[in-house]
């Protein structure tokens, strides 16, 4: 595709999106590549349904129209949308759907079969109940054109850059350069009359500060980033649209399990509890996150959205102010004594912890510094250091840390189950020194048979009561053991230019998760936008 489309540039303005710090951009629209460009996920490739992480509610039909589980959650029947075309003109069929679930790259181990029973229906059969995996199956699996992908071997398919992707989404790829890539409207998109914005440019900008400057000058139309002073953007002449959707918990990962090889004072639950009590979350929110974060629940259910899943007899919120006395009491009760340097110690081992955060994530770095100060007040020595993202990732994977400030991925549905299973259960972890396997997220090496059993119960539970009973058990355990010490619900700030484009998700109408990097949702939002005349 050439650059001939520029003539209509004046009539139809290009929407400029921040593509993150990822220059130089290299064309990669392979949704399975780790280096895939955001523009592929939603604007080009679509899923069967869209789950609204921000607002909850029923899944929005995309390439699927309806779905139905069988009794025990092992068979899922999906009705597929008709009349959809791939961007190369071929028809989108049930065979493509079947291919998308059964190909070598994506096939999950517990999928027994995927069959098209007629031209509109696909039946997926699993070996285990999959209720809790609904999002991954319907909202996370990309629909691929079999006629393109089946030509690729597995090896090719993973290393393939897929420079001119063929998808069903509202956009197709136009040009790619090291600094930006441009998408243009897919004229045969299945949603009639959409997208109205004909051209979208994703720009790679390396420093948050630069991106912020460009937002202020009005050069960027859509960006999700942490800005301490969100009002300042509009005040400086940038886009006035702003929405904050705190979704993902920010926590202190502790390498908690000495049996799996964790070392350090944090393996003692008393130390974790004391630290939990010593934190002044209010100040952290106020100073490091400029008051933009949400309040976290030690149950890891998202307050507001998931309230129905919080057991009545656990603390709904983590303490917001520091309680130094309580913290020291916990330590003393556990046999710690204050040393001459004001630091508690037991058996000659002082409570000294290293807290790692990712260099350049300034809000985290700042929070870490505050925690250092707050912990010191309670006789716990925390040393905040920063590492590159890659090191952070390595450490996390291998369990090689004492404390890490990091995020937990919030669930896309109004149900904390995925967090309990992926982040807390002993089956989803490895000994220290061994990298976690794909799909395992239990970085803290936490392992608690009570939690594991409750997770299994919840997975198979078909009625809400049984599930709630299991959750209650889990919440009791984790809010006591604190393998992840909850801090805040991280702010997700999205800035959008509503002077030139309308149709954005807003505070009042959060029809989709708003940030520009959101997979699936970003494509859905783009398709809904309209240029202002």
């Amino acid at each position: 595709s050439g650059t001939g489309e520029e003539q209509d540039g004046a009539a139809a303005p290009t929407l400029n999106v921040w593509a993150g710090s990822q220059t130089p951009i290299t064309a990669n629209f392979n949704p399975f590549a780790p280096t895939v460009l955001h523009g592929a996920l939603g604007p080009v490739y679509e899923t069967l349904f869209l789950y609204n992480k921000a607002g909850g509610g029923d899944p929005v039909p995309m390439l699927g129209e309806t779905f139905e589980w069988n009794e025990d959650g092992t068979v899922l029947t999906v009705t597929v949308r008709q009349g959809v075309e791939w961007s190369d003109g071929e028809a989108f069929t049930v065979d493509d759907v079947v291919y998308s679930f059964t190909n070598e790259i994506t096939k999950s181990t517990y999928l027994e079969s995927a069959e098209a029973t007629d031209d509109t229906t696909v039946v997926l059969t699993y070996s285990e109940p999959q209720f809790t995996n609904e999002f991954a199956i319907l909202g996370g699996a990309w629909m691929l054109p079999e006629h393109v992908w089946s030509e690729k071997s597995v090896e090719e398919a993973t290393t393939w850059a897929n420079e001119t992707p063929v998808g069903t989404g509202p956009y197709t790829v136009d040009t790619v350069s090291e600094a930006s890539y441009t998408l243009v409207a897919n004229e045969s998109y299945w949603q009639e009359g959409k997208p109205a914005v004909k051209s979208v440019r994703y720009l790679g900008i390396d420093a948050n500060a630069s991106a912020e400057d460009l937002l202020k000058s009005g050069d960027l139309d859509w960006a999700a980033m942490f800005v301490p002073d969100p009002e300042g953007i509009a005040a400086a002449g940038g886009p006035a649209g702003y929405v904050n959707t705190p979704q993902d918990p920010t926590v202190l990962y502790t390498c908690a399990n000495a049996e799996l090889g964790c070392a350090g004072p944090q393996t003692d639950v008393a130390v974790r509890q004391a630290l939990n009590l010593a934190l002044d979350r209010g100040t952290i929110n106020e100073k490091a996150f400029v008051g933009l974060t949400g309040t976290i629940s030690p149950t890891f259910a998202l307050l507001g959205r998931d309230d129905q899943w919080i057991a009545p007899d656990v603390d709904k919120q983590s303490p917001q102010a520091a309680d130094v006395d309580a913290a020291t009491a916990v330590l003393e009760a556990a046999g710690y004594a204050k040393g001459a340097d004001g630091i508690y110690a037991k058996d000659g081992a002082p409570v000294e912890l290293e807290l790692v955060s990712v260099e350049g994530w300034t809000d985290y770095n700042d929070a870490a510094k505050l925690i250092e100060e707050q912990a010191a007040a309670a006789g716990i020595k925390v040393t905040a250091t920063t590492v590159t993202w890659q090191e952070f990732s390595d450490n996390r994977q291998s369990g090689n840390f004492q404390l890490i400030m990091g995020g937990v991925i919030g669930t896309s549905m109004a149900d904390p189950f995925q967090i309990y299973r992926d982040w807390f259960s002993g089956e989803y972890t490895q000994p220290v020194g061994t990298q976690l396997e794909a799909g395992e997220w239990n970085f803290t090496r936490y392992s608690n048979p009570v939690v594991d059993a409750a997770v299994a119960t919840a997975a198979a539970a078909s009625d809400e009561q049984a599930k709630m009973a299991a959750y209650t058990e889990i919440q009791h355990e984790i809010s006591r053991d604190l393998p992840y010490i909850p801090l805040v619900i991280n702010a997700t700030q999205t800035f959008y230019n509503d002077a030139e484009f309308t149709g954005w998700p807003t505070e009042d109408d959060l029809y989709a998760f708003p940030p520009s990097w959101g997979a699936v949702s970003a494509g859905y939002i783009l398709a809904n936008l309209e240029p202002v005349e």
Partner: protein
């Protein structure tokens, strides 16, 4: 008469330079005792300079002056250690090569030359990435072991010329051992040069540390001028109008560097008498005969 002095006494440049350097070093040593805890977040954020906070506060409410004072310590520690390591290495490579001559010299100077043209920062970055956690000492060490080549070259040529001095021969004839000759006869005469090299290495290391910090490869957990600039940049000091946070650390580096350069300038004049410049004496009022414009 200035043969043995490392610093010449009164030249405006050397006095200014020395004053700057001494002032900043004193600041680094003394000021931290009088300032707030540089990590005390109880102050209001983004306060402009005022009576309580002479240089205002940062986004987290840290007192900038306190940070600057502790940063001076950090930066100076990095600088001094790195420079010391660099000087020791350059002594080994430079003086040894210069004194030994022959193949030893050829090989050592080849190594030096190679190190010299390999750009430092990429190498430092690669090594810094390798390090698991970077203490201030480690950063200093890395900067030190990658920055000695320049002075080694200078020292080598100087050592070569000193080696052929008769007094080295005389010491040999008197029966001195080689090591003692190096230490007692040659080294002292290299002192001014060593001092100059040390000072340049110092500022280079401080600059290097600042660059590393900016890339996120600086000493973790420590305060230096480099981490201050980086924090200020990350904390959007500029767009928040908090120049008092962003400007001082950079200026300190530049001023300190300028002070060191000025001192070095004067040392150069001692080492190389040709550089001694005499101001045009005020002869203009005399008759044109008296040799005006030369």
């Amino acid at each position: 008469m200035a043969e043995n002095r490392i610093l010449p006494s009164r030249s405006a440049k050397s006095v200014t330079g020395l004053a700057i350097v001494v002032a900043i070093v004193l600041f680094a040593i003394v000021a931290p005792f009088f300032t707030q805890n540089p990590r005390f977040s109880g102050n209001d954020a983004f306060l402009p300079p005022n009576v309580d906070h002479l240089l205002g506060t940062t986004k987290l409410g840290y007192d900038v002056l306190a940070q600057l004072a502790h940063g001076a310590r950090g930066s100076l520690i990095v600088g001094v250690i790195a420079a010391a390591i660099a000087i020791v290495l350059s002594l080994i490579f430079g003086i040894f090569a210069g004194y030994a001559g022959g193949w030893t010299d050829e090989i050592l100077s080849m190594g030096t030359n190679v190190m010299l043209v390999i750009p430092g920062l990429p190498l430092v970055m690669v090594i810094a990435v390798y390090a698991e956690s970077r203490s201030i000492w480690l950063v200093a060490f890395i900067l030190g072991i990658t920055s000695w080549a320049g002075s080694a070259i200078v020292l080598r040529s100087q050592a070569r010329s000193l080696r052929s001095r008769d007094y080295v021969g005389a010491a040999q004839v008197a029966g001195e051992r080689t090591f003692r000759i190096l230490l007692v006869e040659i080294m002292p005469n290299l002192l001014p040069l060593l001092a100059a090299q040390f000072l340049s290495a110092l500022i280079l290391a401080i600059l290097g540390e600042a660059g590393l910090s900016f890339l996120g490869l600086g000493p973790s957990g420590s305060i230096t001028w480099g981490t201050m600039i980086t924090d200020a940049n990350g904390g959007n000091a500029m767009s928040a109008g908090a120049w008092w946070w962003f400007v001082p650390p950079g200026l300190m580096i530049a001023v300190f560097g300028a002070g060191l350069s000025l001192v070095n300038f004067s040392i150069d004049e001692v080492v190389n008498p040709k550089l001694r410049v005499v101001a045009d004496p005020a002869v203009r009022r005399r008759a044109p005969k008296a040799g005006a414009s030369a």
